[in-house]
């Protein structure tokens, strides 16, 4: 899975020599006399037996190894994730992601909320792609209730969703650079985000957790401010992206830190459930917008973009290509936008007939899907969300052994996980 290049260990330890020195100094051996799970204490966990084989494997220390606990508060874990990294010198030998520091029980709360309220609860999930979070439940509930949104509503949905994708991807470029110590591209990414977020707050009334979608349409029609901002934004969006690109893409240091790092083959990526831009960067042309077309995507012209590398650099280039693709899609959507209502006639409290519905969309991080079961009541009986970054995170422990600590952060940033979505 990792490439064949063997990285020399700059701080390699001579195990026999260390054991001898320990004996001479009267220190205990690095392995505890009890044996296996020396690691728990050193990362601040109370001593307890490991529950699973894998846990025993991670927390058993060989001679010369130590556990470094990164997180839950760490500058580059993208929120409150914890990575227990087993290192030998600077070389990572194993990684154990510990999740749940942001688990808010959204699924359970949604099962107690009415169908309209569910669309507010899902907002803070993947907080960089809020519009996508609402899109899949809206489609699923429309299937359950048997209502279709009017065409103009579908076009507005596609428009805001693509706008959201642009700023999410441009932030990813910044975060990737930030995790390698480049402090400027993130600012350029935020300039892009600020423009788009202002635009979306003009149409939805909220700046970050938009709550714009409704079952059977969207909340508001486009207004003058939104359209005028869209017009001016179109002129300099590419300039903003290019500013980050100029700092990064051809930068020799950036290239040497991304090319060949965290290489994931297409087969492995599918086995691990990686989806979205990360999967397409490994050469697999799987895009839900083409594979299972929803909304108005069948009417739009676009091709599925793929990269061949499968490494961090390919994932980065894939994001840039998708920004351009999204802008191309936005142009088409604006051209074809029909007139008409933006909401179907839907009762205040929706009570669908008992049934099941599955809706998947392509979020900036991959396949985001919702599985909703109705029992005829005013709230979903079961509401399940599959978050792409949660599943993509499984690739990190597979990719990192043999790499250096610095690459752990850089590769993780190239997968662009958002902890709100990972932990739900």
């Amino acid at each position: 899975m990792t490439s064949e290049v063997k990285i020399p260990d700059p701080l390699d330890l001579d195990l026999d020599e260390e054991a001898r020195l320990r004996r001479v100094a009267g220190l205990p051996a690095a392995k505890t006399p009890a044996g296996e799970y020396a690691g728990f204490e050193s990362v601040g966990l109370p001593e307890r037996p490991p529950q699973t084989e894998r846990e025993r494997e991670v927390y058993t220390l060989e001679e010369g190894e130590m556990l470094v606990n990164m997180g839950p508060q760490h500058p580059s874990t993208h929120g409150v994730m914890r990575l227990v990294v087993k290192v030998r010198g600077e070389v990572v030998t194993d990684v154990d992601p510990v999740l749940g520091y942001l688990h808010r029980g959204i699924e359970k709360l949604c099962e107690e909320a009415t169908y309209t309220t569910v669309l507010t609860y899902v907002d803070p999930m993947d907080y960089l792609s809020t519009m996508h979070n609402e899109h899949a439940p809206a489609i699923a509930f429309e299937k359950l209730f048997g209502v279709t949104a009017p065409p103009r509503a579908e076009y507005i949905r596609a428009l805001v969703v693509e706008l959201n994708r642009v700023f999410s991807h441009s932030l990813m470029m910044g975060f990737l650079a930030l995790d390698m110590g480049g402090i400027t591209p993130i600012l350029y990414g935020f300039i892009n985000r600020d423009e788009i977020v202002d635009m979306l707050s003009a149409i939805s009334g909220q700046r970050m957790l938009f709550n714009f979608f409704r079952v059977g349409g969207v909340n508001w029609d486009t207004n003058d401010e939104f359209l005028s901002r869209l017009g001016t934004w179109r002129d300099h969006v590419l300039k903003n992206v290019e500013m980050s690109e100029r700092v990064l893409t051809d930068n020799e240091v950036f290239r040497s830190r991304t090319i060949g790092m965290g290489t994931l083959s297409g087969r492995d990526a599918i086995a691990l459930g990686v989806s979205g831009p990360n999967l397409r960067a490994s050469g697999v042309p799987f895009d839900v917008r083409k594979a299972h077309p929803y909304s108005i995507y069948p009417e739009l012209e676009f091709e599925v973009i793929t990269q061949s590398g499968g490494d961090s650099n390919a994932r980065y280039l894939q994001r840039i290509a998708e920004i351009n693709q999204s802008i191309h899609l936005i142009d088409q959507i604006v051209d074809k936008m029909p007139h008409g209502a933006v909401q179907a006639q839907v009762p205040g409290i929706i009570r669908p007939k008992p049934g099941r519905a599955y809706a998947a969309i392509e979020s900036p991080r991959g396949l985001y899907s919702v599985y909703a079961i109705s029992d005829g009541g005013p709230n979903p009986y079961r509401f399940r969300m599959r978050d792409p970054s949660f599943i993509s995170l499984q690739a990190i422990p597979k990719l990192m052994p043999g790499r250096l600590i610095a690459d752990t952060m850089a590769v993780m940033a190239s997968f662009d996980p958002v902890m709100g979505g990972v932990d739900k």
């Binding site: 839950p72 508060q73 760490h74 500058p75 929120g79 409150v80 749940g100 520091y101 942001l102 688990h103 808010r104 029980g105 359970k108 709360l109 107690e112 507010t120 609860y121 803070p124 907080y127 960089l128 993130i186 600012l187 935020f190 300039i191 985000r193 600020d194 700046r207 970050m208 957790l209 902890m419 709100g420």
Partner: protein, 227 residues
């Protein structure tokens, strides 16, 4: 800039006259001079005695207090936040440091990654029960003087996750809070406004050392039932 005050149950049971005075005079603790002066031979030489609250009064009090006013002005203009975001609000917190909302103008910029070097803990986002312990540990690792800003409704009260089984219903259940910034999430301007309110709070303190130690907020042990 609400300083949330929870009286200690033991002392609250018997409000003394001094306590009543404290309430009436708006929080300034009365200075009670003990009867027998000159307990400390060294202080007695200067005609001074020990302050009932452990400090000094008389001539010696003047100097550190005046210095503290200057120090507080300095502190108010150099508040380094801890680079710690919990969830959605973290993005807006980063947004306050970006080109458009540049919080660096007020000297609040270098987001320090290590709690040992930070002054302000901006709790940005939903605090879950699993995260409560680590967050309190971060807070305790920060050196005095330190301040806490609760950003967002989830942090101030639980917000939309009020009923959740894994969310702490307000960060003030586990640590003292100086400024509450409501909003879901607050706009960057809102956070900047909150930080400027915090600046006022820092300046107003006028070198009262007691506020370092006792913020008037009862500390709740997070290891138990934190909800």
């Amino acid at each position: 800039m609400a300083l949330k005050t929870t009286p200690d149950p033991q002392t609250a049971a018997e409000p003394s006259m001094a306590e009543a005075d404290r309430v009436l005079t708006g929080g300034t603790p009365p200075i009670v001079i003990p009867d027998q002066a000159g307990d400390d031979p060294i202080l007695a030489e200067f005609g001074m005695e020990e302050h009932p609250q452990g400090g000094f009064h008389g001539l010696l009090e003047v100097i550190p207090t005046r210095a503290d006013i200057v120090l507080d002005l300095i502190r108010a203009n150099s508040l380094w936040p801890l680079l710690s975001g919990l969830s959605c609000c973290a993005i807006e917190m980063m947004s306050t440091a970006t080109s458009k909302n540049d919080i660096d103008r007020f000297g609040m910029f270098p987001f320090r990654a290590s709690p040992r070097q930070a002054d302000v803990l901006i709790v940005a986002g939903t605090l879950t029960t699993k995260m409560a312990g680590p967050l309190v540990r971060l807070w305790e690792q920060m050196p005095e003087p330190k301040w806490c800003v609760a950003m967002g409704t989830c942090t101030t009260s639980g917000g939309r996750f009020k009923r959740s089984y894994s969310v702490v219903q307000g960060v003030d259940r586990v640590m003292p809070v100086d400024v509450y910034v409501p909003g879901c999430p607050p706009r960057p301007e809102g956070l900047i406004y909150g930080m400027m309110k915090l600046q006022e709070l820092v300046k107003q303190r006028r070198g009262e050392w007691s506020t370092y130690v006792d913020r008037g907020v009862q500390r709740i042990d997070w290891e138990g039932d934190v909800r």
